[in-house]
Symmetry: C2
DNA sequence: ACAAAAGTGTTACTATTACACCCATGG
DNA sequence: CCATGGGTGTAATAGTAACACTTTTGT
């Protein structure tokens, strides 16, 4: 709470440090990826860790997470959701640190990490090829991952991975990557159009030797359903802008990746069926 | 995370206080109730607040919540689940306090509050007649309430409200109170027996001028499904003991309350149907 | 005998899953 | 003309919701 157990005064006692840690997700090259930072100092020097930092005395937790996100990626607005507080007394060997975990979603058209503001190494790791993480970050990540799955199943939050205009196949791919299972195309489309989140823009994307795909856009209030009502500061989502250059880069990163993903999927399926036969 | 944004050292900076706040639920007299404490000092002197207190430097968050629970109620083991961190900078006017919310469930056979360890007033409030709360406690409570609902829908956590032996009607009542809606008796029984949480003990409870009710007991691992895997310290549930005296008191508190509840429900339904006609 | 809660199955409806072909394009 | 992904409907199944009467007891 806020009142000491022994009421009467705000007596002095030692305070722990409070940090925020971010599991920043994005889809890169057709894989669900996580942004990690290589630690340059002890403890866990050389290990990869979730980006994060201490909460300032005058900022909200959500604001702190947003600030960290900005510092790490140069992105000032993104979907952000708290996953809870982690406070094992020994989780940081230096001092008592209580960490509030968040996850963030970066749309695939937000291309690159901020040109490394300092020497720290930051890179995207595919979620299924992660290195060992520092501190208890794998716990935080596990919860973030679960919560993300849950939200994807029950809301339109997957839109946050995509640029403002997208095709239904792209949206489906996002779902498949996060849920880790293949989804039937027709059922998915029934579901997604049943929820009234989307509207066709009338425009289409031509991306190869095949029928062009209709482009959709989220309805203004689509994220209301994904929004994390209840915590201190549910932040709203601003419409992102699209430029020709971004679009091209996006297509290169996302669509080519999609192709690669399909490829991998087919390979895996083949292996599976072959191993089942033998 | 745990490393400062500007890596290199654990530099000095001001730390916020960290507290835990508990939404302690129980069913008393056929109503879902919440344990509140009347504040004896400013700020919010005279207002009711969630029990809570500062986290000690060497204790886990969950352990801190458990300690608060013990201090407030004399109960050392109860279902406890984190609902998240609340950290608006202005939520406590005295100093920066970040609070980690939990909810706890006290079984109805755990009768009374610890004889007031000091002058503080503590009492059970029916959840639908709560007073205005201090700080941002109504926010914390709202989340706790939601999370509880969610868990009840998807797990056997409702068992935590009941003594080790209980009837299906009692379990159903718990569900109805938490979800705030009437449930069909047959469908409920189908559901609850379908999940294999329960087994009939063969014993029965005779409680009035009607057919005796079969007594059930949770299977040892029933709460595994309710357990909050992922946070630092998922705590296990110990079997509670039952004595004759407790049983009698329980029946008085719970069953009489049940009757009262039914009464109220009938009244409300009557009013509703009457108002619909006119 | 009656009031009060315990107990018990079936049917309708709704939501979810499985499934296969034609279409438009670029090369 | 062919390879590639885009787009569409229907039938089976499972899950959920609605619904009413008989049983056993205490008084």
């Amino acid at each position: 709470m806020s009142a000491p157990t022994t009421e009467g005064s705000t007596y002095r006692h030692p305070h722990p440090a409070v940090a925020v840690d971010l599991a920043i997700f994005s889809i890169r090259d057709g894989q669900l990826c996580l942004l990690l930072i290589e630690r340059g100092v002890e403890p866990f020097k050389g290990r990869w860790a979730l980006p994060g930092g201490f909460v300032r005395m005058t900022e909200d937790l959500q604001a702190g997470a947003q600030r960290e996100l900005l510092e790490e990626t140069g992105i000032s607005q993104a979907y952000l959701e708290q996953v809870g507080a982690f406070g094992r007394p020994d989780r940081d060997p230096r001092e008592r640190v209580i960490s509030v975990g968040f996850y963030a979603i970066i749309a695939s058209d937000r291309i690159e990490l901020r040109a490394g503001s300092d020497a720290r190494l930051a890179r995207w790791w595919p979620c299924d090829e992660l290195p060992a993480l520092a501190f208890d970050h794998s716990q935080i990540l596990a919860r973030a991952r679960e919560q993300l799955k849950d939200r994807v199943r029950r809301s339109a939050v997957a839109l946050q991975f995509l640029p403002p205009e997208f095709t239904l196949t792209e949206l489906q791919l996002v779902h498949e990557l996060i849920l880790g299972e293949k989804i039937d195309k027709r059922n998915f489309r029934k579901w997604v159009t049943g929820l009234k989140y989307l509207h066709a823009t009338g425009r289409e994307r031509r991306g190869g030797p095949h029928r062009p795909a209709a482009l959709f856009r989220a309805r203004p209030n689509a994220n209301a359903l994904a929004a994390d009502a209840g915590f201190d500061a549910p932040e709203e989502d601003l419409a992102r802008t699209t430029s020709r250059a971004v679009d091209a880069a996006y297509r290169k990163g996302f669509l080519d990746g999609l192709r690669a993903f399909r490829q991998r999927l087919a390979t895996v399926e083949d292996e599976l069926s072959r191993s089942l036969k033998s």
